[in-house]
Amino acid sequence: MSTREKTLWIIAGILIIIYALFPIAWIISLSLKSSADISNGQFLPTALSWENYRSILVGDASELFLPALRNSFGICLIATAISSVLAMFAAYAIARIDFRGKKIILSTALAVAIFPVIAIATPLYNLWREVGLYDTWPGLILPYLSLTLPISIWTLSAFFREIPWEMEQAAQVDGATPWQAFRKVIVPLAAPGVFTTAIIAFFLAWNDFVYGITLTSTEASRPVPAALGLFSGASQFESPTGPIAAAALIVTIPVVVLVLIFQRRIVAGLTNGAVKG
């Protein structure tokens, strides 16, 4: 590579990084501006202010934000766990067993995944009010399963297909029941796949706005994205840009942390056997 080429690559790389990270930098900067400083016409705050964070964590917006944070965590974790376990069994059956209707299950899953959420939000709202699921955790967990299950089944069955059949057969010859073979051989080998799928599922649920805003009404179950929409400024004429930026940052942190933790597991899983145990 000539120096000229190298320089071009570096410049291109920097441009892409700026393009990707600029909005985040902007949000960080916004979250650190005081309400008077928001429209100061410059990128950086004139003076660092923790006012926005104080407002959402201990101040007047905290009544809205903190329960929402708890709801989001609880609902998304439960939905992810349930969908991972269910998807694991479904994907295993799809990858291993020849049964009638396999194609139908896969294409139904795909259909569910591409079905516009907005189209069922309203019917679901009416239904949930009838059956008493409106504004409850299960009332959100159920639709989140419909968001996360299809993609989990698809990715996991791809992972299971990669695991050689013989591995399981060897286990059976060694004296394992089908369940033992699944638990002691297939699950550990599929772990990276399960973690990847769990992360994707968690994000899908965590980022949902439509269900969150439609199917909840109080802090009993309202998740963070819905709560952010309900923030109000200090006065009617002021938009709550600062607190929203601060809240956005706070809800991003767990996601980043999760990725870092799981990424370790994923890499460890992928290179399994290549590392000394």
């Binding site: 060897a170 010859v173 060694d174 004296g175 033992q180």
Partner: protein
């Protein structure tokens, strides 16, 4: 330890394909049985039916006298070494070997004792803590064997265990497996498509073709008294030569001249327009190097040598010959089925390595006519097979085996 009996076993796959067709085979307690045949002939299918990974369509499978058709693999107490080893990548070598013991809830100190014993036998001690991915092919192979021998299985099953190794390692592991089997004296069924493995390892060899058993016999019987063209062509390397011939009086007319059969042998082959003479490469010799005393037992002929290969300890000469179109076609089909790539009709002739026969020249050869076999090209049957002599060869092998096992037990 147990015998394995197969009674009219049939396997029909879901798509209607008959992979194994009416196989009956008795494997004695402690015997080393080889299943051999070209790729796709149903060897693995048969092995997997023994171990229980494949349902049996019809027929009965008995292990140690008890019917096992309906038993799950884990209830058959057999251990198996897979072609690609099927080691558990997430477990250390130690835990891989210990896996069957862990499943049977063996106490820890017993596990340790057994794994160490297996590691002793297979020289795996310094690798016990490593993961399979870091091992070489031969080491993985040994781990797979360790997993097989660590528990008291009734029989060992091997599915082409050496086919992923390079030639040198394959030779080493072959002797290792033979030694291990003799030492443990456990009934073994070994699948291979490699006739060298079949000949060197087996007490008896079962040759399969398209799901049908062709012949079950000791390696020597297969070599010296094959039942048909297929077995004759499959066993032996370089393979047996098949020359077209016709009977004239009591002599066979072949591209290499006439072969006198004598009245008795001529009578057994009479009544066929075309015959195929099967001659192993080593039945030939450079005529100038043959004892005068031996010469009357064979026929001498001259032929144009196409190519010679000198290997140090042996030498091969290739002699092309003309064959009638229909025979040539059949020989081509046979060699395709045997996975050999003989492009032209030529005889491979083994001559002494000191022979001065040169490429492209005429040379004089001698052929030991006592050992040739004559086949009916239509059915493939060996018309000159001496069943009695064959039976004696296999009996001798059986006596050897029993004697060896007794010696090991002492």
């Amino acid at each position: 330890m147990s015998s394995i009996e197969m009674d009219h076993i049939v396997k029909e796959y879901g798509d209607g394909f008959q992979a194994v067709n009416d196989v009956s085979l008795d494997i004695a307690d402690g015997e080393f049985m080889i299943l051999v045949g070209p790729s796709g002939c149903g060897k693995s299918t048969l092995l997997r039916m023994i171990v229980g990974l494949e349902d049996i369509t019809s027929g009965e499978m008995r292990i140690g006298g008890a019917r096992v058709n309906e038993k799950a693999p884990r209830d058959r107490n057999l251990s198996m070494v897979f072609q690609n080893y099927a080691l558990y990548p997430h477990l250390s070598v130690y835990e891989n070997i210990a896996f069957p013991l862990r499943l049977s809830k063996t106490p820890n100190d017993e596990v340790e004792k057994r794994v160490n014993q297996a590691a002793d036998v297979l020289e795996l001690h310094e690798h016990l803590k490593r993961k399979p991915a870091n091992l070489s092919g031969g080491q993985r192979q040994r781990v797979a064997m360790g997993r097989a021998i660590v528990r008291d299985a009734d029989a060992f099953l091997f599915d082409e265990p050496l086919s992923n190794l390079d030639a040198k390692l394959r030779g080493q592991m072959r002797t290792e497996i033979a030694r291990l089997q003799r030492r443990l004296g456990i009934t073994t069924v070994y699948v291979t498509h490699d006739q060298t493995e079949a000949m060197t390892l087996g007490d008896r060899v079962c040759v399969l073709r398209k799901g049908l058993v062709q012949q079950v016999a000791s390696p020597r019987e297969l070599y010296e008294q094959p039942v048909n063209l297929f077995v004759a062509g499959f066993i032996g390397s370089p393979p047996m030569n098949f020359l077209p011939a016709s009977l004239e009086g009591t002599a066979l007319r072949t591209p290499f001249g006439d072969i006198e059969l004598g009245e008795e042998r001529a009578a057994t082959v009479r009544g066929h327009d075309v015959l195929l003479v099967g001659i192993r490469p080593e039945y030939f010799e450079d005529a100038s190097l043959v004892d005068e005393a031996k010469k009357p037992h064979g026929a001498t002929f001259t032929a144009q040598v196409d190519v010679t290969e000198w290997l140090g300890d042996a030498q091969y000469a290739y002699i092309p010959y003309e064959a009638p179109a229909e025979v040539a076609e059949q020989l081509k089909e046979l060699s395709e089925e045997l996975d050999s790539e003989q492009l032209r009709t030529q005889a491979v002739v083994s001559i002494d390595s000191t022979s001065r026969i040169r490429e492209g020249r005429e040379a004089e050869f001698w052929l030991d006519t006592r050992k040739i076999h004559i086949f009916d090209p239509k059915t493939g049957d060996n018309l000159t097979r001496d069943a009695e002599a064959g039976r004696r060869l296999t009996e001798m092998a059986e006596e050897d085996r029993v004697e060896q096992m007794d010696r090991e037990r002492v």
